[in-house]
């Protein structure tokens, strides 16, 4: 195990803990937008696609697979945030 790996594990543990604490406080009423919002955030894999794409441009197969990943992640980000906004708009106008 490298030191970097352990350091990353520590970050993982802390992020999970903070996430758990904050999300536990979200009321039932908002659970559906919470899920579509987390869909959008899980599109963060796009970052990985951006990072590795320049390394694979010479291999047609791998390039295509990265592009599939990039496409999926982008749909998640844009679709997820947009539908979450649509739902939260409905809750907002109640105020």
């Amino acid at each position: 195990m490298t030191e970097i790996f352990l350091y990353t594990l520590l970050i993982t543990a802390m992020a999970s803990f903070i996430g758990y604490e904050l999300i536990s406080k979200i009321p039932q009423t908002l659970h559906t937008p919470l899920m579509s919002g987390s869909n959008a955030i899980s599109g963060i894999t796009l970052i990985a696609g951006i990072l590795i794409y320049p390394n694979v441009v010479d291999d047609v197969l791998l390039k295509t697979i990265v592009l599939i990943g990039v496409s999926f992640a982008t749909m998640n980000i844009v679709g997820g945030f947009s539908v979450t906004g649509r739902i939260l708009e409905m809750f907002k106008k109640n105020d």
Binding site: T2, T8, I11, T12, A15, S16, G19, Y20, L22, I23, P27, Q28, T29, H31, T32, P33, M35, G37, S38, N39, I41, S42, G43, I44, T45, I47, A48, G49, I50, L51, V56, V57, L62, I65, V66, L67, I68, G69, V70, S71, F72, A73, T74, M75, N76, I77, V78, G79, F81, S82, V83, T84, G85, I87, L88, M90, F91, K92, N94, D95
Partner: protein
């Protein structure tokens, strides 16, 4: 520089979750999260925009366009399917990235294991989610549970063996096995268990992204993935405890398929829309319990109309929402919010259960198992111990339902034949519209 930008976007995500705790601030939370995402994407390019060809930008542009179109066209009743598709896309994206990293780079052992893990989870989430969406759309029905459970067990052992032995299996085999595992695992789970499945797959899509973060050494992927993973796990546990079942019991599938005696000792009291209108007009307090039947019938607007009518007669109206009502967490709340019903009027099981005894009329719309008193009394019942809405404590109960057919658990509901219960056999939308019409005549 790039690293500190990532840090800011992580902080934005965390603040967004904090603001998500209230309906009034949640809209701002979404915008904060968008800001965090945009910042992360810009940082990832690291000003080297020229390193990417036209195809890359084109793929992003077209996918983004598709995302906008789909998210604007989807009906609120279809949210479970949409979230199911997004879960699958998230898993698929991480699986694809992990596969490419496994094929392209020489990874150190720890990263290699994480990459295999990310790929397996990602691919499982992808195929499992597609099956979940097909189940939600009612495209897949009964299968022989025993055969599929054995098949799925063999596949699981196969995947674990591949992952733990030193023999160099080709990654393609692992992909095929994970795909099949996702299909066989989800295909047996249906109907009212979907909230658990959707939340579980949601969590896995986050965990796959987090693992992908380890491979490409990206802190933002790890943090964002962990947040999504945590969110999904919390919802999974909440849904399980709302059904008094464990995640293992849910994933085993086949619930409600065993034949149980579901005959009724006597006939229910059937009523008409006119009678219900009269009954409601004498009430001071009404609690409405929406269920999946309301979503299927697209009856939200009719519910709103009835609510307006009742409120105009100074009758207090509240909504009691069981955590697993519908097909995903919070499904009913969104449908009611869509028709402008105030979220202050929506109550959780814990908040409303003590109030039923003081309620004049409870109106159950297309819900069944979540109001079945057997959960409190019959130890042999498959739903025994599940927290239910105690609507039978109310002075009068009206159930709008198409027939006496059992709910997902496959058991009879003695609430329907109780003396203070009246049944309106109708489609939820039609039934409610008729009640509203009858009010004009009362």
């Amino acid at each position: 520089m790039t690293e500190s930008l990532y840090l800011i976007s992580a902080v934005l995500f965390i603040f967004a979750l904090k603001l998500f705790s209230r309906p009034s601030t949640a809209f701002r939370a979404n915008n904060l999260a968008i800001g965090g995402m945009v910042l992360a994407i810009i940082s990832a390019f690291n000003l080297k925009f020229a390193d990417y060809d036209v195809v890359f930008y084109l793929v992003i542009l077209v996918s983004a366009g598709l995302g906008v179109v789909v998210s604007n066209r989807v009906q609120m009743t279809q949210m479970p399917e949409l979230v199911g598709i997004f879960n699958g896309l998230g898993g698929g994206a991480s699986g694809a990235i992990a596969y490419v990293e496994l094929s392209n780079s020489t990874l150190v052992l720890s990263d290699f294991s994480v990459a295999i893990f990310s790929m397996t989870i990602g691919v499982f989430t992808f195929s499992g989610s597609l099956i979940a969406v097909a189940k939600l759309r009612g495209k897949l029905n009964s299968f022989n549970a025993t055969v599929i459970n054995i098949l799925s067990g063999v596949l699981l052992v196969g995947v674990i063996t591949m992952l733990t032995t030193k023999i160099d299996y080709s990654t393609e085999y692992i992909i095929i096995l994970s795909l099949l595992l996702g299909i066989t695992r989800v295909v047996l789970i249906g109907g009212a268990d979907m909230p658990v499945v959707i939340a579980f797959l949601n969590s896995l899509s986050g965990i796959a992204a987090m693992a992908a973060g380890f491979i490409v050494n990206s802190i933002i992927l790890i943090i964002a993935g962990a947040l999504v993973g945590a969110s999904g796990i919390i919802l999974t546990l909440l849904m399980c405890s709302a059904m008094n079942r464990t995640i293992y019991q849910v994933l085993k599938g086949g619930f409600g398929t065993t034949k149980i005696n579901n005959e009724y000792e006597k006939d229910p009291i059937s009523t008409s829309a006119e009678d219900i209108a009269i009954q409601l007009s004498y009430a001071d307090s009404v609690v409405i319990v929406p269920g999946y039947g309301m979503a299927v019938a697209q009856a939200q607007s009719a519910v709103k109309e009835l609510t307006n009518t009742l409120k105009s007669k100074n009758i207090e109206v509240k909504f009691a929402i069981h955590p697993v009502a519908g097909r995903m967490p919070g499904h009913m709340n969104v449908l009611l919010a869509e028709v402008d019903i105030d979220y202050e009027d929506m109550f959780t099981l814990e908040d409303i259960n003590s109030e039923f005894s003081a309620t004049d009329v409870v109106l159950v719309i297309g819900a069944n198992d979540v109001v079945n008193p057997l959960a409190r009394t019959d130890e042999d019942s498959p739903i025994y111990g599940m927290p239910i809405l105690d609507v039978d404590m109310a002075k009068q109960v009206v159930v709008i339902k198409r027939s006496m057919s059992p709910g997902y658990a496959g058991i009879a509901n003695p609430l329907f034949i109780e003396e203070n219960t009246k049944m309106l056999f109708a489609d939820a939308k039609e039934g409610l519209e008729n009640i509203v019409k009858s009010f004009e005549l009362v």
